[in-house]
């Protein structure tokens, strides 16, 4: 699989696409893309300013996508982010739109809990530096976001988000979180997109060079597409998928995927079944078919591109 992707994407001459007849690739363009608008409602807890506090996730059993979560096995890292010049609402909006810059985050500190399900402000560090953070944790110092993640990448793999708000005169020193289901509101549209129509003899090359806007409405950076996925649903309809959007992968009868290394084309024939690793056999006219362009390194979990594929004869 990897050699074929390399041949297609890394060593390839981008000018090759100009020599290929238009129907040689399955074109995924802006009109084919879904739309996704997410709203975050991150819980906020007041704690005493400039003082140590604890945050426990021992009872957290559902993450922000309302998926099951094991508080010991699934939380690898606690990130503490200070946004000194943003309100909590601005942070929520920036996260939902994926529009925050690193400089918006004044401080990033972390703690790797191991098997623990609680952390203290005094335990966080920055790499090999252990700053005395309590003096900075003062009333009016902006928004402080705790991010519980699977994996240790900064702003990646988020499972739960919590604001802690330092306030003078507050006597609370302990925060506990137990449910992320109410955190994410979203509106998704699959029913209004224009499906990609393929012919029976079309080669399995997907081309998204004409896809310039993500499902979230942002300009598409092609280097963010890290995985291409096809999902087949044997017995459902589009409206049902739309209603259960966060569970698409688990609802799918079969999914095939492959990492994407570079460029704006992918050989779908190189995708492998995520269960048995068998190659993608191609589309047929049964059930429902989705193609997704996935970004594994983006804070927002929704795909960058998602469309329906139908057979047109």
């Amino acid at each position: 699989m990897l050699p074929s992707l390399l041949a297609a994407c890394v060593g390839g001459d981008p000018t090759d696409t100009a020599d290929v007849p238009a129907r040689a690739a399955i074109s995924f363009a802006n009109e084919n893309n879904f739309t996704f608008e997410g709203l975050l409602n991150i819980p906020s807890f007041a704690v005493e300013a400039t003082t140590d506090f604890s945050l426990s996730w021992a009872d957290l059993d559902k993450d922000l996508q309302c998926h099951d979560l094991d508080p010991v096995a699934d939380i690898d890292n606690v990130g503490l982010m200070a946004f000194p010049y943003l309100t909590e609402a601005e942070v929520e909006d920036g996260l939902a739109r994926d529009s925050l810059r690193q400089v918006d985050m004044g401080v990033y500190l972390n703690y790797e809990p191991g098997d623990a399900t609680e952390f203290l402000l005094s335990q966080v560090s920055f790499g090999g530096t252990d700053p005395d953070i309590e003096p900075l944790f003062e009333d009016g110092s902006g928004s402080w976001l705790v991010v519980l993640t699977t994996g240790t990448g900064v702003a990646l793999g988020s499972r739960m988000l919590v604001f802690v708000s330092p306030q003078d005169g507050e006597d609370n020193h302990a925060v506990s979180v137990d449910d992320g289901c109410a955190l994410l509101d979203y509106t998704v549209s699959l029913t209004t997109l224009t499906p990609v129509v393929i012919a029976a003899d079309d080669p399995l090359t997907l081309d998204w060079s004409q896809l310039t806007v993500t499902g979230q409405g942002s300009p598409l950076d092609p280097t963010k597409v890290s995985k291409v996925m096809v999902a087949y649903f044997a017995d459902t309809d589009v409206a049902s998928l739309e209603a259960q959007f966060l569970d698409l992968e688990s609802l799918a009868t079969t999914t095939w995927s492959a990492p994407h290394l570079a460029g704006v084309q992918a050989d779908l024939g190189a995708l492998l079944d995520d269960d048995d690793q068998s190659p993608f056999p191609g589309f047929d006219d049964t059930g429902l078919w989705l193609v997704a362009l996935v970004c594994d390194s983006c804070p927002v979990p929704a795909p960058l591109g998602l469309t329906l594929v139908t057979s047109g004869g």
């Binding site: 890394v10 060593g11 400089v103 985050m105 401080v107 920055f126």
Partner: protein, 457 residues
């Protein structure tokens, strides 16, 4: 070391299986007579790093040559000249991804340079995950390119142009590596990476030379390398290196050295904190490294080093020949009178300027609440430091680790707010005129502005 470097310099330009010959030109397959030489077999391939183009050509007689290239037929950039011979190869570096490059070969048999007609090639797409910062504002030609080591969600080295386009990239495949430094080498043939430990073990620290075309990666174990390195004019690498000893109570204890790694593999300890400074006052401190070297520069004009020691908060000038400390400023071992001005707190990178002034990234403490760039005029004999310039970002940032500064001939200063992923070019009046921002999850370490990939000093 010698073998490794030789391998780097002699290695093939790229894996032919990954490079397509897609040169488009009027005489790419034909022989053309230019002056006294017949030029043939002009080819252009994308290198392993697909923003780099490898141009090869042959001449029927001994000749030198170079390539002129750019976005159109006015070109604008010239490569270095090849050695006299009949087979020639150069790399075209400095072009963004997915960009059309015009180029022509210029040959010289001794009777004057003669160019071929125009050829074109398009550079390839950036690999998935390549960090792409956003640049804004305008600048004079303080530099043309900048080497950006990126930490955080992505470990990568990119080289960007003035508008933030990535023209070179490398994603180190070092499991658990801690990328601290990246330098375009003096000869412009490679990028040197310093990884401080892998999997958190400083014993496994590693230097890597990445050839400019990306086709060759040479790993050089550098046990206990930490934080920073520099390259001397002869290619010798100077680095901060930790030496472990044992406290009186039996627990491990560390301090820093300046170690040179010569091209022949010879290691020379230039300076050792254990021998040069008194560790006694720090024996009960919890920090594992009682000096915590966090910045190193070679000062060619005086054949000396400057090393910053964060735990002590002091910057030392070390005579390279004698290994003796000539002066110390800031922190616990400060010898200078600041005249009541705000003292520097826990600095990182710095620059000793030609006029003798010292430019520093002053991290500051949580109690002070902000970081700044500061310029000090030094009276070495009288041990007087006079603050003559500072820059505090609006709104302020407190940078816990890293931070970098560079001053240019026009008086503008580059200030790198490393973990905050922002680099600003500010005027002497403190007005930001250009800046570069990383996306959320990505920060920088120390950066290197460079003028050109050619005509290396």
């Amino acid at each position: 070391m010698r073998a490794a470097l030789a391998f780097l310099l002699l290695a093939a330009a790229c894996d032919p299986s990954l490079a397509d010959k897609d040169v488009v030109g009027t005489d790419s397959d034909d022989e053309a007579t230019l002056g006294d030489a017949a030029v043939s077999d002009v080819t252009a391939d994308l290198a392993t790093i697909v923003t780099v183009v490898v141009v090869r050509w042959k001449t029927d007689v001994e000749a030198t040559g170079h390539v002129e290239f750019g976005p159109d037929e006015t070109y604008g950039i010239s490569t270095n000249t090849t050695a006299s011979g009949t087979s020639h190869e150069v790399f075209l570096v400095g072009t963004a991804a997915d960009t059309l490059v015009h180029f022509r070969v210029v040959v010289d048999t001794g009777s004057g340079p003669t160019p071929t007609s125009d050829y074109t090639i398009t550079t390839g797409p950036l690999p998935t995950g390549t960090p792409q910062p956003v640049a804004s504002g305008t600048m004079a030609d303080e530099w043309q390119f900048m080497v950006l080591p990126t930490q955080g969600a992505v470990a990568a080295v990119t080289i960007v142009n003035q508008v933030g386009d990535v023209v070179w990239y490398y994603r180190p495949v070092v499991e658990g590596g801690n990328l601290m430094r990246a330098l375009l080498t003096n000869d412009r043939k490679a990028v040197l990476l310093g990884h401080a430990g892998t999997q958190g073990k400083l014993e496994d620290s590693l230097l890597q030379y990445i050839s400019i075309d990306g086709g060759t990666v040479v790993d050089i174990p550098a046990p206990f390398f930490d934080h920073d390195l520099d390259e001397l004019p002869d290619g010798t690498v100077a680095m901060i290196s930790v030496e472990r000893r044992t406290r009186p109570n039996g627990t491990p204890w560390e301090a820093d050295r300046i170690v040179e790694l010569a091209a022949d593999g010879t290691e020379t300890v230039i300076w050792n904190a254990w021998e040069s400074l008194d560790s006694t006052p720090y024996v009960d401190q919890p920090a594992p490294n009682w000096t915590h070297g966090n910045g190193l520069d070679y000062w060619a004009e005086e054949d000396a080093y400057l090393i910053s020691l964060k735990e002590i908060g002091t910057l030392c000038k070390v005579n390279r020949s004698t290994g003796e400390i000539e002066w110390m400023i800031d922190g616990e071992l400060n010898e200078f009178d600041f005249g009541g001005a705000e003292v520097v707190q826990l600095q990182h990178q710095f620059e000793l300027m030609p006029n003798g002034n010292l430019l520093l990234f002053d991290n500051g403490t949580p109690e002070r609440g902000y970081s700044r760039a500061v310029e000090l005029e030094l009276d070495i004999d009288a041990r007087i430091a006079t603050q003559i310039w500072e820059y505090i970002r609006t709104p302020p940032l407190l940078v816990f680790a890293k931070g970098d500064v560079q001053r240019f001939d026009n008086g503008n200063t580059l200030v790198t707010w490393s973990p905050n992923g922002e680099i600003q070019l500010v005027t002497p009046e403190g007005l930001p005129v250009w800046q570069l921002n990383a996306e959320l999850g990505q920060g920088y370490t120390f950066v290197q502005p460079v003028d050109s990939f050619y005509n290396a000093p």
